[in-house]
């Protein structure tokens, strides 16, 4: 995969993964309240980075600063740098940044006036892709990737909201994949779902990480442990600890992290 024509380093069998997104001293504000304090974090190519931490600690805010969604909140502000493949995202067009860095929200948010097919192709339409056969191919491919194709292939013209919650969330994932992003941000993508749908989405993440860089926010410790390669623990707007997931869950360096992952607070 070399989207947007960039050349990527040759892959060895167990390659040392390249940094894909680098956050440097990110501070984020809503008006006068500060939500993030000097967060520096490196997310690696083709890996899953989990962000955990108690409610209100700034996980969503951090995720949303990565694709410049933070700035659409009125009165918001941020300082510091976020690099995508070494390039400062604030020097790029926000629309382009969001095409390269897709996002899946906590609550499924399909477009209710659109069919399943049009939901998936919505992002392509924004990008100006109109060729019917190309669109149809991408729609099928994205729905297959999101493990939804078999369930909806006979009802592509039905409304996107005619699906169950879990199917809607997979539809939103397919919609995000259709624009072929390089990075996928997921903000508690399974928090509103039943265990079976959750399992499907986790499987999906496992599949997707072969081609995408994934950052996932989750409240579910088991989920973080299952799906992620690296885990970042946030507390009160600060990054407390960041390490390999195994390390975070078995031998964290900080007491705070240990208390949180063992369920002693949070």
């Amino acid at each position: 995969m070399t989207p947007h024509g960039r050349v990527e380093p040759a892959q060895a069998d167990h390659p040392a993964r390249q940094p894909r997104i680098v956050a440097e001293k990110v501070n984020a504000y809503f008006g006068t309240t500060q939500a993030l304090y000097d967060v520096s974090l490196t997310m690696l190519d083709r890996s899953v980075t989990a962000i955990i931490g108690p409610s209100g600690c700034g996980k969503s805010t951090f995720l949303r600063s990565i694709n410049r969604m933070h700035e659409i909140v009125p009165g918001s502000r941020m300082t510091g740098r976020i690099l995508l493949d070494g390039e400062d995202i604030h020097a790029m067009d926000a629309v382009l940044v969001r095409k390269r860095i897709g996002m899946v929200f906590q609550k499924p948010n399909p477009f209710p006036t659109m069919s399943i097919r049009d939901n998936v192709s919505a992002g392509l339409t924004f990008g100006g892709v109109r060729n019917r056969t190309v669109v149809a191919e991408i729609v099928e491919k994205s729905l297959r990737q999101a493990a939804l194709w078999d369930e909806v292939k006979d009802s592509l013209d039905n409304s996107g909201v005619s699906l169950s919650g879990g199917q809607q969330q997979r539809l939103c994932i397919a919609r995000a994949l259709a624009v072929s992003p390089e990075v996928l941000l997921m903000d508690e993508p399974a928090s509103a779902l039943d265990p079976i749908s959750t399992a499907k989405i986790e499987e999906l993440i496992y599949e997707l990480k072969r081609t995408y860089t994934i950052v996932i926010v989750t409240h579910n410790m088991q989920q973080a442990a299952r799906v992620s390669d690296q885990t970042a623990f946030f507390y009160m707007g600060r990054l407390v600890e960041f390490d390999d997931t195994k390390k975070i869950f078995t031998a964290p360096a900080k007491k705070q992290t240990e208390d949180y992952v063992t369920g002693r607070f949070g």
Partner: protein, 317 residues
């Protein structure tokens, strides 16, 4: 019920109040319904003469000759429908533009005064619009708008003929100004009710701000349509302002420059002149037709707005 009272005596008295209130509101609601039915019934009875003489053909005849007692309602129905739809055609895009500006683009310091001004337009009495229309707008339409339209689009029958000023076009324009506030404010409200998640979903897919706005408009479309139909309902029944600028001639003509007549205007103008029983019954039948059209249009609009607001409070499932 008895059990309830034994366990929690104080809820009993509350329940009486609740019941009373519920029944009282029910009573008033029923009263309105009865009134509407009574009105329709009364008009139907009072217009029996016309019904007996012309039957349904009254609706499609276009003669209007009080001397010979020969009547048809078609020119009025035509005038009402054409002027109202023309008004909607002009007002709808403008209103959506205003609503998008107010709900998406305008900074708060600008949004409030503009909103206030738009709502102010709704409060101006219709006679004031009429006077302004007659003395300011009509001369301007006669000297500027109609000549320009006929030189640019004169090949269409719509824009042919002498620029009278008063006529269908003027009626449509004045009506569009009058229904703009209601369409714009309803559209603004339904656009505001669009969940943030919808716009964020669009933006996160790499849409421009305009594309995200289009998603919001599409989400709100049935509410906007409801507002439009409500505006249409208002235009259908509007009387004074239209009477002053439409020309009041019961003809059907393809050109928008030609004078016309509406149901509401003919009622206002000729009610006092209706000396014979037949004449009076004809006017009452026209009132009945207008009554039915407006009720149908308004109910449809309410239904649409209601479905939308219900959906947005429930979220989308």
């Amino acid at each position: 019920m008895t059990d309830n009272r034994q366990h929690r005596p104080q809820t009993r008295s509350l329940n009486i109040g609740d019941e009373l209130f519920k029944n009282l509101t029910r009573f008033f609601a029923a009263l309105i319904l009865v009134l509407v039915v009574l009105m329709a019934y009364e008009m139907a009875v009072q217009s029996r003469l016309t019904w007996n003489k012309f039957g349904l053909s009254f609706l499609v005849r276009s003669v209007w000759d009080p001397v010979q007692e020969n009547y048809g309602a078609l020119p009025f129905i035509y005038g009402t429908l054409v002027s109202s739809f023309l008004a909607l055609l002009i007002a709808l895009p403008l209103s959506i533009g205003i609503a998008v500006f107010l709900s998406e683009l305008a900074p708060p310091w600008l949004e409030r005064p503009v909103s206030f001004f738009v709502e102010l337009l709704a409060g101006i009495p219709s006679i004031v619009y009429g006077i302004w229309g007659f003395f300011v707008m009509v001369p301007w339409i006669r000297s500027a708008v109609e000549p320009a339209l006929s030189s640019a689009l004169g090949s269409l029958p719509l824009f042919r003929g002498a620029p009278y000023g008063v006529g269908m076009l003027s009626a449509g324009i004045i009506l569009s100004i009058m229904i703009l506030p209601i369409i714009a404010s309803i559209s603004r409200d339904v656009l505001r009710a669009v969940p943030r998640a919808q716009k964020e979903a669009a933006l996160a897919l790499g849409s421009t701000r305009w594309e995200a706005t289009r998603i919001a408009i599409s989400y709100a479309r049935s509410g906007i349509l409801g507002g439009a139909i409500l505006g249409l309902g208002r235009a259908l029944g509007e009387t004074m302002a239209v009477t002053m600028v439409i020309g009041n001639r019961p003809t059907i003509s393809a050109s928008l420059f030609e004078p016309g007549y509406t149901m509401a205007s003919v009622l206002a103008n000729e009610f006092t002149e209706a000396t014979s029983d037949m004449y009076l019954s004809v006017l009452i039948e026209i009132a009945l037709v207008l009554f039915i059209i407006t009720i149908v249009v308004n109910s449809f609009a309410r239904l649409l707005v209601w479905t939308v607001t219900r959906r947005s409070t429930q979220g989308h499932t």
